[in-house]
Amino acid sequence: MSSSSLASAARIAVRKSVTVAAPVALAFEVFTARIESWWPMASHHIGDAECTAVVIEPRPGGRWYERGVDGVECLWGQVLVWEAGRRVVLVWQLNAQWEFDPAIRTEVEVSFTAIDDRTTQVELEHRGLEAYGAEAAAMRDTFASPNGWNGMLDHFAQVTGATHARAAAG
């Protein structure tokens, strides 16, 4: 059974769409080359040390990884499709314990469409989440821990609230 047939069978996905007041080239650049400017690094990194960088190497087959203050690089996955300024497909191989796991293979596809010179529609699909079926049970145990996912979800709520508050204020 090839991985492509598994990928085409993928049905469980998260889809998001956001309109950004920025030219399409800039939106693409911020999403990829400047990912560390917006990725919630404080909470979402896998290394032991504090995370200082998130890198997407700009080519098919490129690595997607984080680097800690200790210099250690932790792989998240790789670049499957790289169409500069238009579309990128990333393979995300983090398991429910937020560790790199080659057995997990989910895909994040992001496309950038110019609405006009200064506005971009960004569509994101994170698919293949049925890969977490095998992880389901172990994950619930992780969630039950106060330092586990419930804690992180609380943090999400705070960050999201803060972002909305800023947006409302600005």
């Binding site: 956001v18 950004v20 999403f31 919630p40 989440l129 977490y132 095998a134 972002t163």
Partner: protein
Amino acid sequence: MPTARTSALQARRFAALGDPTRLQVFTLIARSPLSVAEVAERLPVSRPAVSQHLKVLADAGLVQCESIGTRNLYRPDPDGIATMRDFIDSLWDVGLARFKAHAEALARSRAAHPAKEKT
């Protein structure tokens, strides 16, 4: 303590997926719900053996059996996948909100200094 029970269950789950054939069975039904006969058709394993593997997976809380008409279909425990889906959903909500804020700030800054763009 629930901790001991939880660990025991977790150990059983890992053990359940530790068997290569059982992992294959699980991978198959993770792609689409299947009956015992349908799993047996796709793997070089007898129906009784498939039944036994599914029983171990079910006891470990990894799969559920659902009766649809006359068919008993096995599928992964949907709660776990749903939890991960919700988690990733939240992650991208946060991430994209931050992404939008940064991209727009940079766009404003570049618009305010167009000379830099034209060089």
